[in-house]
Symmetry: D2
Subunit: 117 residues, 4 copies
């Protein structure tokens, strides 16, 4: 990972895990399952909200959303670290692809073309 802050986070998580002897649980398979479970908890925070309400969560909701988003990032960084994936480079590659796949002039304002972005 080139990114200093994400790399620092990866290192802190390595230490946290090693200190607890939890490395044995952190297979990429298990981490991916933990990640989707946390992403589900994050989505659950919004499940009964209208679109408008989701734009303006109250303080308690925002605190829960923030904590769930943190869990998602933590497992994503752990997973990437285990497999040697540079997340920022991977995201850049993906956006490059999406720019070619969805030319602005063609897809403007349409969610029709906008599946699995």
């Amino acid at each position: 990972m080139n990114s200093t802050p994400l790399h620092d986070l990866a290192l802190r998580l390595r230490e946290f895990t090693a200190a607890r002897d939890w490395e044995q649980f952190h297979t990429p398979k298990n981490l991916a399952t933990a990640l989707v479970a946390e992403a589900g908890e994050l989505a659950a925070e919004f499940q009964w909200l209208t679109a408008a309400q989701s734009n303006a969560p109250d303080g308690e909701q925002l605190a829960r959303i923030r904590a769930e988003a943190a869990d998602v990032l933590i497992y994503l960084v752990r997973l990437a670290d285990k497999l040697g994936i540079d997340l920022l480079a991977a995201a850049a590659t993906k956006i490059d692809e999406n720019e070619r796949r969805y030319p602005a002039e063609k897809v403007r304002g349409s969610s029709k073309k906008y599946n699995q972005y």
Copy 2:
């Protein structure tokens, strides 16, 4: 967001979205759903693998995992940007809490204490 690389990614995604007039689709509610769907695709890459196989994906598997991990990061950064969440600060807060909640000497090697980390 203090982190320059994550902040740069957030800015690039803002531009990508605005150029396509897709801002209308990017409510926090929708982004959280997109995030969990991508996390599901990531987990699907591992679903039939053994723990050992998941530690050593072949080149094609790793490329797919990398692309799905990128999608997760993209939606996570978009969601955080929409709600003004600093992901790195949120992750630091969460790890601080986990260090208090799971003292190394108490939980060492046990997944019993290790629910919903």
Copy 3:
């Protein structure tokens, strides 16, 4: 399972799996991951739709939703079959609990009380 149609489905899936020697992949852990991945694909069908649009999917959307819902049911029934869970009895127990937990006169029209239903 007491339910004849769900039990018949469980039996057909057992045969399908055995004929392909896929039993080895169908651990409860793997099936639960496959289930959440399919649930993510189902949610993805709705991710950019408004609430109103989601009430009236067009023919192609409905066909995809139907197919994804089928996948969710298939993995849920397989998982329950592997662990000896009677899904209909489990659902009845859960609704009994929810009736006690959310008395109609108290929670009417409020999603405040309505977390993790």
Copy 4:
């Protein structure tokens, strides 16, 4: 829905929802999000277990798994009911397709061919 037990469950859930005036929250979009969130909770029960452990959950684990599986079924049945989807017919269609797509003699014992089953 032709299935009497699943149809009965759908009817009971309609009544439960109407009595609480929660119909307003039960758009297909919201129900699909709730479903994937519950599927994530179900997967979380298995996230740190080995394959062998997941085959033999203890009593407390099994009770939690049963309750989460019930939640998944409840939201799946509600979603199908809202959109007029016959879940058992949809599952039968899907298995018919899978039987053609994965001929037993060709895919026997291989998870290579076994993506997104």
